[in-house]
Symmetry: C2
Subunit: 300 residues, 2 copies
Amino acid sequence: MNPEIPLNEYLNGRKALVDQALEKFLPGGGNDPAVIFEAVRYSVFAGGKRLRPILCLEAAAAAGGKTDVVLTTACALEMIHTYSLIHDDLPAMDNDDCRRGKPTSHKVFGEGIAILAGDALLTEAFRLLGDREGMPGVPPERVLQIVCEIAEAAGFFGMVGGQVMDLLAEGGKADLQNLFAIHQRKTGALILVSLRAGAILAGAGETKLAALSDYGRRIGLAFQITDDILNVEGDPSLLGKGTGSDAARGKVTFPALIGIEASRLRAEELVREAIVSLESFDDRAAPLRAIARHILERRS
Amino acid sequence: MNPEIPLNEYLNGRKALVDQALEKFLPGGGNDPAVIFEAVRYSVFAGGKRLRPILCLEAAAAAGGKTDVVLTTACALEMIHTYSLIHDDLPAMDNDDCRRGKPTSHKVFGEGIAILAGDALLTEAFRLLGDREGMPGVPPERVLQIVCEIAEAAGFFGMVGGQVMDLLAEGGKADLQNLFAIHQRKTGALILVSLRAGAILAGAGETKLAALSDYGRRIGLAFQITDDILNVEGDPSLLGKGTGSDAARGKVTFPALIGIEASRLRAEELVREAIVSLESFDDRAAPLRAIARHILERRS
């Protein structure tokens, strides 16, 4: 990262790279049945920040690897993230009508197609990972390792388990330990594996992989705490959704359990620790350091 | 297959092997949150015939490979099959209350958990495929090839696309060409890839792989035609579900389009052709030949 370029501009460039690749992997038009491709594109191109793919690209860069080798994996991670949003928004789950300022998938396409759009994205992510053409020159053992780790992060002990715990916790029975567990599985696991996948594909050794994992665990939690804070006091016009929905739903959050000020302090502490985790990395980790700091300033 | 052992007995032995492995991969008890493991086990151990895993094992055997190397993949295929049943039964899809004589997943656990149980099974299937310990000695390129092919069979141009076409076709607009396309994607693709995966893992060459693929395309369609016939004139007590549901729903089926007798003849022709596809194989393909013949006699 050129220090002359502001982070926002740099991240926009990375985002454009990911969007371009997603456009190639999920082309519009000409496919049958058209509606499932429309539904998938509607959610994938709904204005996400591409945090997970960017973390994957930057972990690879920090470990000395090349971007083009991890771009396919970065897109697969965004597909898995999008699938989880579509399914979590369903009436049988969080029942959200609106996301990023737009009607949710089931509101536009109906529940059946929304469920299938999520299924298709999850499946396509693994198809991309299995396709040797997407990762030329990468040893196949490394690819299998990330298939396994990504599926683990998405499965029983990751996102699916976290969403189940979240469903069970509605009504406010969860304590702080429970809340940590929900976040670690529901959002933390995929953020962590985004970094690990980038590093593994780049051939990072154990020490660097462990450091990037520490960074990932810390920013994952910091990101979730700031998410909870924004749900209390964010600007709805920037968020693309109303605030106060967590409180209205009786959802357990960090601000609800420890208060806004303590939540903010905890997020700051986690970001500091995340940056310390990267001590042994050179300037190629500058974007990761900047992303960590940026979490505290985000408005959406 | 020992020619002295009747097919039923042989298949029961294979089924027991698969069930034992599934039990190991999806253990009951001790996992958190318990309900998602209960939901997954409820559907996986609901009395399925294990057709796909058995085809995978037998394709490997016919190609000269060992059973223990493909058992993990066989289980992954059954998990993907079960996920598709759970999601297809949802109220937003086929809205079925009953399957194999038992209430469907969403009837027992609610829609949210049923959706997540399907998600978990699809994800766990790929985790198993990525886990090197499950396939000792298999070259990782082969494993990646089957990850890619299985995801393709499950995705846009396979099961998901087929289910979308099926949803769109309800009300009876589909013609015979459309019906072939729906079946090929919705059920044919996974049956085909079950055979291919077994053969690829066993190291089958192009000729044997092509022959097993021909066999798979033919029995896949024959299986679906007999399914349609059973829905018209099967014995509900053996099927574990009522008959006539396709007609009541205005679903396009082979009997509805070409009549029962022509459907039966077509299934017989496909089975004959499937057996011809295996001409170049020795006795190790005897179970595959017997399974093909058995399709015409099945009552459930």
